[in-house]
């Protein structure tokens, strides 16, 4: 039976960092390297390392993984090769989630065109982080702690399953922070458009089943809130691509 896994293309520091960070989400993580020179490291490395070349038709992958639900990370050092790899994967697997790394904004645009669901432009991401750390140090620290779970504060996505609890109320009618100890940042509707909680659209949209709230709060409060209105949900990338 084919498995859902994370396929990381490229054997470098980026791919190792990614592998170390996504272990909680994927049971199967495999690294694909174009050069065999570093395979000696495999013995010391926790993840299996496979060899590949850009001319492959990926038939082998199709047999081993459920490519509809798996995620591929394209982290090749050479931009042109990375773009070629992305196109090659996308042409073979329509629904594969592809996350690619780009050196700059220009190659990020090309990778998006090549079919990547999400691109991380390294230079822009790092510089934005540095500028934020200098200009808005408090916010950066707070968000960093929330997002990367370095404090007891968490951010979660909660799907509304019990809309009778709200009884046709609008999101702004409820004092979330006072009543539930959580702060609702935004509401994602069934049509997958995400709205800020105080936006005029969210204001005039009665809460109903299927809405997803993005909430910030302490783990216990989030759990309580979750029991009350629905369940924590994972939104698949296939549903979420801009």
């Amino acid at each position: 039976m084919s498995k859902i896994g994370a396929l990381i293309f490229g054997f470098n520091e980026y791919s190792l960092e990614i592998a170390n960070n996504i272990g909680h989400k994927f049971g199967e993580i495999e690294i694909f390297s174009m050069s065999g020179a570093k395979e000696a490291l495999e013995k010391e490395f926790a993840y299996p390392i496979n060899r590949f070349d850009l001319s492959e038709d990926w038939g082998d992958l199709n047999e081993r993984f459920d490519m509809e639900k798996s995620t591929a990370f394209c982290t090749l050092d050479d931009t042109a090769e990375n773009i070629f790899l992305t196109i090659s994967l996308r042409s073979s697997f329509k629904n594969l989630i592809i996350i690619a790394i780009a050196q700059n904004k220009e190659s990020a645009d090309k990778l998006s065109l090549a079919g990547a669901n999400k691109v991380i432009p390294l230079v822009q991401t790092t510089s934005a982080m540095i500028a934020d750390m200098l200009d808005k140090p408090v916010i950066t620290e707070v968000l960093h702690n929330i997002l990367y779970e370095k404090s007891s504060l968490k951010i979660a996505q909660i799907r509304v399953d019990k809309d009778d609890y709200f009884d046709g109320k609008y999101p702004t009618d409820i004092e979330w922070s006072r009543e539930h100890g959580v702060i609702v940042l935004s509401v994602m509707h069934e049509d997958m458009s995400s709205e800020f909680i105080y936006s005029s659209k969210a204001k005039h949209h009665a809460i109903k089943n299927g809405d997803i709230f993005v909430v910030v709060g302490y783990e216990r409060d989030i759990e309580e809130f979750e029991k009350l209105i629905g369940s924590r949900c994972d939104v698949s990338w296939s549903h979420w691509s801009r």
């Binding site: 790394i101 991401t125 540095i130 808005k136 707070v142 979420w240």
Partner: protein, 515 residues
Amino acid sequence: MFKGWIVDIAYAINVSDSYIQTKRFFYNLLENDSYRFKKYFDMVMMALIFASVFIFIREVKYHVDDSLLFFNNIIISLIFLAEYLLRFWISSSITEVIIEQSEYDLMLSREFRLSKALRKIARQKLEYILSIRAIIDLLAILPFFHQFRLLRIFILFRVFKLFRYARSFQTFVSVLATKKFEFLTLSIFASIVIFVSSVLIYVMEANNPDSPVNTLYDAIYWSIVTISTVGYGDITPITYEGRMVAMIVIIAGIAVLAFTTSLAVSAFTEKLDEIKETKTVDDISKLKKFYIICGYEHISKEVAKQLVKNSNSLIVLDEDPKRVENAKSDGFVALNYDPGNIDSYKRLNIDLQRQVKAILCLRESDVENVYTTLTVRSIHKKIYILSLLMKEEHRNKLLYAGVNEIVYPKELVGMIAREFVGKPVAFEVIHALRSDYTNINIEEIIITPRMLRNAPLVADLHNARYRVILLGVYKKERKRFFFNPIDSTILEEGDYLVVIGNVLFIREFERSLYR
């Protein structure tokens, strides 16, 4: 006994705080270009000079009020006299010479030689008095003796004093001084041509009754007018031989003029970069709060753009001229200084503690960043340093060198990937809050005493009324973030409110706190 007193007095003066402070104040005011009040002092002095010259010109043909004459002859002269005496005072230190001599003699176990110290003091002071600047200053005071009519012409020396206050003129002179040898050679050539042609024209024309050249003075005047290519035409040679001389002088004149012009131009071209650099350093020293970006590569370029977009000032230092050119063409203030060299920071003439917000070591090389960090740390222990880390194994080295904050792009990618696959919606929401693409922002508002009077408690903020979410309060004192604070939370000066909302609503909310 007497000598002992003198040494004691010298020591007492040399350690007196008020004496040191007073002398430093006048030194800064008169000589230190980076002292912020000097420019005002210079402006006042320049205004006095212009006023003085204006009165002088007016007096030639019209009656000038006695009070104005009193102001010109007495007040301005007294001010200039005071300035002259102050400059004389700060030009060298008498007490230090006495102390130095006494310690020297003491070390050699012999009696203090006062006469030697006095000779040294006299030499130093005389050196100052005989300097061109001091002579001009002194001559500018002379119109004080207005009863001697001849001395009044010295008022024009006040115009020369202008050069002391106009730095552009000093730059001009210093640039031309680099071509001293060339100018000297040229002037010798011109002098010889003038001398020879004057003598020749005198010999050829003086005996001709129709010729306007009658004296050697006429001949020299004609030579200078001709060689300078001015050629008034009031004196012209009429003899065949005289005209031959004229042709030679005209040709020599063109050569002299062309050489002079090209010398001045080449002097300026060669010094242009230096002049620009001096101007840039001067501008930098006037900045109040700015970032220093060390190294101009991909990431630093983007960081610089972001910081400038958020209304920050910054300067770029890089040892590579090409990268400096790139930074300049991108519109940043950049200097071709090596950020890893202590001398670079000294040449900048800035107060790191007061003027610099942070030093950003953004070279994409850990070796360079460690080196720069160590350099900065060696001159300032407390300044905030942020550095880029390219390889994890070098993290400890950067920390050991004294970096306050490290940004490791690979770690960032790992964390982003973690969130991407885990909570994409939450990630996008946070990302949208931080980016400028949407109108919804997350911002920090610092609590001021005025805000505290209006809203001492969280309940008094009424943020919901402005459709603004209060995510929490960051207590600066405790360095702790209080998420979703209860209404009775007491706000303190210096706390940060972390709020989320539409940019306009946040502004409105902020304004409401000031009302």
